[in-house]
Symmetry: C2
Subunit: 264 residues, 2 copies
C-alpha cells in the first residue's frame, strides 16, 4: 500500500496511490494512516496534485553515521582513523527543514561549496511503541520512505551542533510517499546527481538496522505514530552545485528528486 499526503490548492489530505490504466491515481481519505481512516469518493490523477511531505513527525530521529564505508570516508575527510559506533545512539533533525519531492533545496548565500547529499532509507512509525524486542520492532513500522540528509560540511565541522549544517530550511527533502509491507533488508539505495549514479548501497549493510534502533530506542523512550527514523547513508558523498538535480531511488518505494537552488 502506498500512502501520500497531497493538496490540490486547498487543505492537505492523506491519500492512497493506486496504479491504473492511464497513470496512477490518488484516492483521498478522511483520517490518517496512523489512526482510523475512510476512503472518500474523491480521486485525482497523481500528476495533477501537489505531493506534500508524507508525514510531519512529532519527533524526527536520524541514525547519523551508520554505514561502514561512510564512517571510513568521513574519518578520512577529517584526517582521522575511522571509529565505528559501538551502539545504536540515535540523533535528531528538525521539522522546519522538511520539504517534499520536487521542492528545491534552497542554499543560503553564505554556504560554502561543501554542500552534499546523503541518500537514506526512512522508517515511519505506525504505532505507539515502548520496550519492544528486535523481533517485534517491524510490527510498529507503518512503512518506508526516502530522505535526503543534505549537509553543509563546513558548518558540520565547525559549528557546535548540526543546526544549520543539516537543518537549514529545505535541507531535509523527504518522500515522495510511504510504502507499507516492505522488508528493509531487501532495499537498495541508488543516488544520482544529474542522472549520473554517484552512490549506491544495500540498506541491509547498516551497522545497526531498523529493528535494532527501534528496539534500543524503545527501552528508554516512547515512539509514537508518525515519528520518522532516517537510517543514515553509505559511501562517500560529493558536492552539489547550483542547478544540480539529486535523485534518490529505492526499489519498491520510488524516487525522491530535488534541485539545488543556490541563493544569489
Amino acid at each position: 500500500m502506498k500512502w501520500c499526503r497531497f493538496s490540490t490548492g486547498g487543505p492537505i489530505s492523506y491519500g492512497i496511490i493506486e496504479s491504473a490504466t492511464g497513470g496512477d491515481t490518488i484516492t483521498e481519505v478522511e483520517g490518517t494512516p496512523f489512526d482510523s481512516y475512510k476512503k472518500t469518493s474523491n480521486t485525482y490523477k497523481l500528476d495533477a496534485v501537489k505531493l506534500e511531505v508524507p508525514v510531519i513527525p512529532p519527533t524526527f530521529y536520524a541514525a547519523g553515521i551508520n554505514y561502514p564505508e561512510h564512517v571510513t570516508w568521513a574519518a578520512q575527510m577529517r584526517g582521522e582513523e575511522p571509529v565505528l559506533p559501538q551502539q545504536a545512539d540515535v540523533g535528531y533533525r528538525a521539522i522546519n527543514a522538511l520539504v517534499p519531492d520536487g521542492h528545491d533545496i534552497i542554499v543560503p548565500k553564505d554556504a560554502t561549496e561543501m554542500l552534499q547529499y546523503e541518500g537514506e532509507l526512512v522508517a515511519v512509525i505506525g504505532k505507539t511503541c515502548r520496550n519492544v524486542t528486535e523481533e517485534q520492532a517491524l510490527g510498529y513500522v507503518l512503512g518506508f520512505t526516502i530522505g535526503n540528509d543534505v549537509s553543509e560540511r563546513t558548518w558540520q565541522r565547525n559549528d557546535r551542533t548540526m543546526w544549520r549544517a543539516k537543518n537549514t530550511d529545505t535541507f531535509k527533502p523527504m518522500g515522495p510517499w510511504i510504502v507499507t509491507g516492505l522488508n528493509p533488508d531487501d532495499l537498495h539505495v541508488v543516488i544520482r546527481v544529474n542522472d549520473k549514479i554517484v552512490g549506491e548501497y544495500d540498506a541491509a549493510t547498516a551497522i545497526f538496522g531498523v529493528r535494532t534502533f527501534i528496539s534500543k530506542m524503545s527501552q528508554y523512550l516512547t515512539l509514537v505514530p508518525g515519528d520518522v527514523l532516517w537510517m543514515g547513508t553509505d559511501g562517500a558523498t560529493e558536492n552539489m552545485k547550483d542547478g544540480d538535480v539529486c535523485a534518490i531511488s529505492i526499489n519498491d518505494i520510488g524516487t525522491l528528486t530535488n534541485k539545488v537552488n543556490w541563493q544569489k
Copy 2:
C-alpha cells in the same frame, strides 16, 4: 497574561489563568494562543484541573551550554579547560521526553547515580519568524515558561548523542504555564532540591540571549508558533536521588516541580 494547557478528564484545552478571590481560576478557550481564540463560559478552579505540558512544540530547540559558570563547571568535570561557545549554535531535544508540572521524573533502572537537574528559562515562539533582527526578536515570542533539562551525565559523556542522557521519557519537565509580556533580562532562576536552594542565576547572564538566538536561528530556518527554545542553565549541578523533589522558580512565571521516581 498566563496561558496553560489543561484537562479535566477529557480532551486537552488551552486556558487563561486569572487571579480571583479564593484561588486562581482557568477560563477555557476555543482555539490556541498562537492563532485565533475565544473565551468559553467554562471556568475551573486551577487546583481542580490537571495541568498539561503548556505547548507541544513542532521543533524543540535547546541552547545547551550557554552560561559561563556552567561551561566552566562542565569542563572541570571532564578535566578540560573551559571553552566558551563562539556563536549561538542551537541544539535539539525530543517531544517524547516532555512532562508537565507535577509529573514524576521516571528514571530507568540502569541509569547511574549521575542524574542531574538543569533549571532553564524557556521562550515560546508565538509567530512565524524568518530573518529577524535582534531588535525584532522578542516580538515573535508569545511568552516564557520553565524547563528542567534533566540529564544523566554518564550517558551524556559516553553515548555518541544525547538521546537517552537528555531525552529518556519524562526527562524534560516543562511548565507550569506560559506568561506573556515579560522581559527576559528581568528574570531570575532559582533551583531547589527538597526545598534547599542548589543554584540560582540571572537569565540575563547568558552568553547568548533570547534575542541573539532567535535572530541568528532565523537567518537559516523558520521558527513557527509553538516552537520552544530552552536557554540553558548556569552553575554547577548536583545528583538527584529517588524521592528528591526538584523545584525551579522564575520570578513572574512560577514554579515547576517534579519528583524523582527511580525504577526498581
